[in-house]
Symmetry: C2
Subunit: 299 residues, 2 copies
């Protein structure tokens, strides 16, 4: 089944110990798509400004992404400028120019309205809610968010969270949203807010899955040459949802495999700037690294 | 085979969100012993002041620890005062009173000199070196250290590191000692300093083992009620070394099991103040939790 992602298409300007890139293609929905496309057809719902280069559109199209729900608006494209020092776990935001994202109202074509697998990537939770209300009978809804919305639109976030099956959240956000420093308590709290599955992303420390029935914990693939972690969480989610869209149920085995794929695709993501690494990735290379990763973590 | 630990016996005064304890029994060698005793006979080499209560000596003896190499010196026992806020990963040192530890010269009895399994817990690396020079033919030497010695006695630490088989180090210390933020690069660097095995402790994020032949990574057991993490690294090391002392070789299977035992014993450690939890632990309870833990991490 195909996957639909609502999120951002952005310009990123990024400085890391590995180098510098100006105005490269980024955004949550783009990173997600580069991972999920390895498994299935991806429809990308987002907005761009009228400064957005045709070459980036061609690039997405060339990668098989359905871009018919990307709407072009008058004004500049969302532009994030950030830096990572030697601690790649912490992004330092230098500047955020929302541009047309401030006025974004997602297009929901009849085709998109019939989507089965929905990933609501990081945008205003009111936009996530509006978008979700237009989807007829989604099979699986997964949700991501960001500290900014926890701090500024908590009510709206809690509302959309009620309708999500899977909450994909990083550990600091889980702590901030629940007020619980302990991740198990935080996850238990989050389970009461609606989702059946809490997927806590811990960056270089891996991921944990919590449900009412079991806990699953996995370290990350150890990457030696980290270049740029931007989008790692979104490509993790893309691999995770992409794999699930091909699975028959949300049983433990499928969820564990989905996390394996997400983890390994994210490990490729951080080895290049922007989508440099994930955009040239094949499922074959992913599977090869999964074999290697399994050797690293097997008891 | 028996295990000998060189380290500290201390008074700890600890405040955490879980409560407060004044002058409880602590110290690296004590925490190590409470774990390692589950597998084998442990000889504890350390110093205490003449203020050290007889009841603590009786307690250690009662737990089967060989205390004949604990020397009583004139002056106060080493006393650490610390606090943990909601982030249990970071100990805040309020006060350190070295007391007799400042003049410590370990006793090496003929029996201790014939030890096979040596754990050099956190003390001055010059003392670790001196002690090791008195051991005739150790089979396995494992070494722990602390930021303080990396900052203040790096040369002495590098000297003793050359003679260690296993370096048991927490992730921040690995970064500080090598100047490498990336843990794989840090581990590769450390491998060049002497030890054949680098065991990086990551607290609530688990542990990683690096050798020239393979990498192994494991998350931590997820503990819901953390009370006091003091000594978790030492009880991890105690479980790890205790298990190894009963193993025939340092092959991957044995090392992985040793990490499993260390991880699970450390998870008990953090559920109580000081040695409250580990001192009443049985191997049966440890094994029960290992079964549960394996369910959590199995693919």
């Amino acid at each position: 089944m195909s996957v639909t992602v609502l999120g951002t298409v952005a310009f990123d300007t990024i400085k890391t110990p590995g180098g510098f890139r100006h105005l490269i293609l980024g955004g949550s929905a783009v990173h997600f798509s580069m991972a999920a496309r390895l498994f299935t057809k991806v429809s990308l719902v987002a907005c761009i400004g009228n400064d957005f280069p045709a070459k980036y559109i061609r690039f997405l199209k060339g990668k098989g992404v359905d871009i018919s729900s990307i709407c072009e608006m008058n004004g500049p494209t969302f532009h994030w400028t950030g830096e990572y020092k030697s601690d790649f776990n912490r992004a330092i935001t230098i500047d955020t120019k929302l541009g047309v994202l401030a006025e974004f109202a997602p297009q929901v074509s009849p085709k998109v309205a019939k989507s089965d697998f929905i990933f609501l990537a990081n945008v205003d939770p009111q936009i996530q809610s509006y978008f979700l209300s237009k989807i007829k009978r989604p099979k699986i809804v997964a949700l991501d968010s960001m500290n900014y919305w926890i701090d500024n639109k908590k009510k709206a976030l809690l509302k959309v969270l009620k309708k999500a099956d899977i909450y994909c959240v990083n550990e600091q956000e889980a702590r901030d949203l629940t007020g619980e420093c302990n991740l198990i308590r935080a996850a238990k709290f989050l389970l009461k807010l609606g989702p059946k599955i809490i997927l806590i992303k811990k960056g270089e420390y891996g991921a944990m899955l919590y449900s009412n029935d079991y806990i699953f914990s996995m370290p990350a693939y150890p990457v030696e040459n980290v270049i740029d972690p931007t989008g790692a969480g979104d490509s993790f989610a893309g691999g995770f949802m992409g794999y699930l869209s091909k699975s028959k149920s949300l049983n433990r085995g499928n969820l564990v495999n989905a996390i394996l794929y997400g983890t390994v695709i994210a490990s490729f993501n951080v080895e290049g700037f922007g989508v440099e690494s994930t955009s040239s990735l094949s499922l074959e290379r992913v599977r090869k690294r999964i074999v290697e990763f399994k050797r690293i973590i097997s008891l």
